[in-house]
Symmetry: C2
Amino acid sequence: MLDADALAATVGRLRAAGQRVTPQRVLILGMFAAGEHLTAHEVYARVAQVSPAVNRSTVYRTLERLRDLGLLSETDLGDAERHFELLGDDRHHHLVCRGCGAMLLLGDEFVRPLREAARARYGFVARIDHLALFGLCSRCQDTMPAPADEDDH
Amino acid sequence: MLDADALAATVGRLRAAGQRVTPQRVLILGMFAAGEHLTAHEVYARVAQVSPAVNRSTVYRTLERLRDLGLLSETDLGDAERHFELLGDDRHHHLVCRGCGAMLLLGDEFVRPLREAARARYGFVARIDHLALFGLCSRCQDTMPAPADEDDH
DNA sequence: ATCTCTGCAAACCGTTTGCAAGGGA
DNA sequence: TCCCTTGCAAACGGTTTGCAGAGAT
């Protein structure tokens, strides 16, 4: 769970954006501990434990809204679900192994040039908040012959 | 449609990878014109026009297989569908505007350092074949000043 | 008082599954 | 012959929809 100070700050950002501060929204934001990814499904499940009256649609709609406002990041991790994370000042990204599912960390310093290129070239403001890049980790390159072998020839 | 030579070459890569060359697979590959994105749904629809007997599952299974073999790229373009594209030697990527849906082109030279960092740091072989980065194009930045705006959509 | 936000419940729809028959190599 | 691939058809499951009423400001 998000601690009280961090929650208050985030709620402040909500209000500052001209959004209504409803109990549902505060509850949903409160589910996020810093650095933890949650799927929409997981958020709904956790919220339901505390307050069963909160509806599924509200959770989905709120997550999307919070993402658009820049309070959450949304990431496609390769499964069919939507992953959300609290968006602080520390950006990080992931390398996702298609062989074993392992997730490795990739610092934002590698991604920053991309953001800058997009802006320089097109004036495009890229929201690269939490990138997921797919491939094969060092261990699975040996285990899974097909793709790697072809590329090496 | 893919021209005959390009199709033959791609089929050759299929065979070289030790995969069976079935009429369905050739048909599916043939649907891709160079540089064109197709969703799984679209591929199925086009295949069905030519050969209605080909099953939906076959299309989905084949696309996934071709992707794993490195013949196709798969990209999440922000809608809930899977987008595929023929994978030649020319890698390119996209900036997708969340405001108007515009897609801008981003050359692979900006992405290459990422691939190299992943390999150097973790020995991870990143398959960054066709990246989609989200954000706001120059025009939409004015139309919707992101975190301060209180509209809906 | 205004107008956003929420609850409701069914529907959506792209995708996946298990298994037996088919057919490349 | 071997066993990889396909067809079949139902089901899956995360997400979305439209609308009326509740509630934040």
